[in-house]
């Protein structure tokens, strides 16, 4: 298993270069003229302004030249400057990453805990009404469009019942705590702002639940299948023969084993969460990377699009790597298998 991890590590630089090259090439195929978003359509006729803008934004020079410059800059941590925000893309992303991470981590918790719970019920009561219901609930999550679900949830919980606050990370009237980590839950606590913490938590509930539900389907499906495999094993009968109760057998013996193969979907889940977060952030006005990407794509902000795509690819690679490591670490048989 260690070999798999090492091999993945060795392949990573090549994949990264592939990602960078692919995104760069993609940006070259663009039909829309990015100059429009920089200097406006009216100035396109003015050769002087166009030339100045091209020089300013590095749009002159041949494709190979620009590619070399892009890769060189990238190697120095420079993703270029956003046409739209006029800030370095890396700065933009660094500012927005914590919001996305906070949402994705919360959604991951909802999705995995909920999915595992549903899978336990469904495997323990296989073929019963409870099993069918649990699977349907999980499946609905992956079949409902998150952007629509977010909309409906906002309407039901904030407009109709006023149980939860509307979009955003904090109440509009609230003063944001000084950004230390960028995680609103952590920052409010650091600032000693109890009410702010509760407010941030209440704002997080809906987007995290909507996003979490969307990954519950794959988590439930995977964990259920592996629970059913495990529950037919002799060591489960053995645990019961020891006099262990149903719950103990289920959690200590069945789940402990079933989660190991289920770990392989962590990376896959991450891809789902990224997809979902792009849409959920848009609905909930969540100032994260997803809504940044949407804004960038709408305004043909190529440095920003390229930057988000590369960072997203890097994040995906890391998620897959972590999946392998977690898988290797969780199974005692793998730990020794060099």
């Amino acid at each position: 298993m260690l070999k798999v991890v090492v091999r993945r590590l060795l392949v990573m630089p090549f994949l990264l270069l592939g990602i960078v090259t692919a995104t760069f090439l993609l940006a070259q195929f663009t039909k829309g003229n990015p100059l429009i978003s920089i200097i406006g359509a009216r100035n396109l006729g003015n050769a002087e302004i166009v030339a100045a803008a091209k020089a300013r934004w590095g749009l002159d020079g041949s494709v190979p030249e620009r590619y070399a410059i892009y890769v060189w800059n990238l190697a120095h941590g420079d993703l270029g400057t956003s046409f739209r925000t006029r800030q370095p893309v890396l700065t933009d992303l660094a500012q927005r990453l914590p919001a996305t991470l906070e949402l994705v981590i919360a959604a991951m918790l909802v999705g995995t805990l909920g999915g595992i719970g549903l899978a336990i019920v469904s495997a323990e009561f296989k073929d019963s009404a409870a099993d069918h219901l649990a699977r349907l609930v999980a499946l609905m999550g992956s079949c409902l469009p998150v952007f629509w679900l977010g909309l409906i949830a906002l309407f039901l919980f904030t407009v109709q019942t006023r149980l939860l606050p509307g979009p955003g990370r904090l109440d509009i009237r609230a003063v944001a705590p000084p950004p230390v980590t960028g995680f609103m839950l952590v920052d409010t606590l650091l600032a000693g702002d109890g009410a702010g913490f509760v407010d941030a938590l209440r704002h997080l509930v809906l987007p995290a639940a909507v996003l979490g539900w969307s990954v519950m389907g794959i988590v439930t499906r995977m964990v259920r299948a592996s629970m059913l495999d495990v529950m037919g094993q002799d060591y489960i009968t053995m645990a019961r023969a020891k006099g262990a109760g149903r719950l103990r057998v289920l959690v200590h013996h069945a789940l402990a084993n079933a989660l190991i193969p289920a770990l392989t979907i962590l990376g896959f889940t991450f891809a789902y969460l990224i997809t979902g977060s792009v849409l959920v952030e848009t609905i909930f006005s969540w100032p994260g990377i997803g809504s940044y990407a949407v804004d960038a794509a709408r305004s043909l902000d190529y440095p920003a699009i390229t930057g988000v795509t590369i960072i997203g690819g890097l994040g995906f690679l890391l998620a897959n790597l972590m999946t392998d490591i977690a898988y290797a670490a969780a199974d005692p048989r793998m730990r020794d298998a060099g």
Partner: protein
């Protein structure tokens, strides 16, 4: 006479099929006295394991069990899960067939033994549990128990794992040990070592054992009495010595003839022709009749009842007239 430790009467285990239930075990009586080793012999599908899982209360929910299973005076058939849980692992323990799959691969050996101790002695301290677990590893002759304690099952050989399984089974000094084919998955030399452990356990701790097996050699070496099961029914039962010397049921005789022995110079090993009937199409008469060389029309028409013969019982219409003791491989 002292009441038996385990007294099964009329045990029937039925499995649901699309067109209704079928009895995989029907009307089986079986008793085990304290400190006694009883063999339960039969081919796969004969219902040996099912009846013992019924004793443990470990059959899937949709399998129905009827009859009476009394353990030390307590009725187990239909007993609530709570009562079963208090007995399982504490007074009745089980050794499984395949040690490669009977141990939880993600927990250390020590943790798995400790779990058994803790489940039934919740007040013991961690140190006490560990000490007892180490003692058990020693009792089943595992070298360097201190080092082995924190290892995982995959670091053990098959024979060593089976010792661990036995250590777990005897952790709470049970009165009854159900051993389901405890040596089938092991090499011959390891088999002998495991059987030695069983023999010692019985001598030192007075544990009664139900030995489920298809290996008559094991029964001869260890058991006091034996029950031969065919197609979910008792075919023959009696003390080991007389049954081996003079089997009354053609099936028992067949099993005995199929055992290779050192002084047997036959160049071929004999086997019973055919295979046991599937659960879905058991014949109306004696279930063994289609494979039996002695069958007469009566055998195909009506099912024989168990009848007493000497020290044992036999379910065969022709038990009185046949003399099977002289049957040997060469005559067949």
């Amino acid at each position: 006479m002292e009441a038996p430790l385990l007294d099964i009467k009329g045990l029937t285990v039925s499995i649901p099929f699309r067109d209704g239930e079928r009895a995989a075990v029907s009307n089986v009586d079986l008793s085990v006295r304290r400190g006694e080793v009883v063999g339960l012999v039969g081919e796969s599908g004969s219902g040996k394991s099912l009846s013992m899982l019924a004793v443990m209360g470990l059959l899937p929910r949709h399998v129905s069990v009827s009859g009476s299973i009394r353990f030390d005076g307590i009725e187990l058939c239909g007993a609530p899960e709570r009562r079963m849980r208090a007995l399982r692992g504490r007074r009745i323990a089980m050794v499984f067939q395949d040690p490669m799959t009977a141990l939880n691969p993600v927990k250390t050996i020590g943790a798995q033994i400790a779990e058994m101790i803790r489940l039934h002695n919740p007040r013991l301290s961690g140190a006490e549990v560990r000490e007892r677990a180490l003692g058990l590893l020693e009792a089943v002759a595992i070298p360097a128990p201190e080092r082995r304690f924190d290892q995982y099952p995959h670091e053990f050989s098959g024979g060593m794992r089976q010792r661990v399984v036995i250590a777990i089974a005897i952790a709470n000094d049970p009165d009854l040990l159900i051993a389901d084919e405890p040596t089938t998955a092991l090499d011959v030399t390891i088999q002998a070592q495991i059987m030695e452990i069983f023999a010692r356990l019985r001598e030192e701790r007075g544990i009664a054992v139900v030995l489920i097996t298809h290996d008559l050699g094991l029964v001869a070496g260890l058991a006091d009495r034996m029950n031969v099961l065919y197609a979910g029914r008792i075919a023959e039962r009696g003390p080991v010595g007389p049954v081996f010397a003079a089997p009354r049921h053609p099936y028992t005789a067949g099993l005995l003839a199929a055992v290779p022995s050192i002084d047997d110079v036959a160049d071929r090993l004999y086997a019973i022709p055919g295979a046991p009937p599937a659960l879905q199409n058991r014949p109306p008469g004696c279930a063994f009749a289609p494979r039996c060389g002695f069958s007469v029309p009566l055998c195909h028409a009506s099912e024989p009842a168990l009848a007493r013969f000497g020290e044992g019982v036999v379910a065969c219409h022709r038990a009185a007239e046949l003399s099977l003791s002289t049957l040997s491989a060469k005559e067949a």
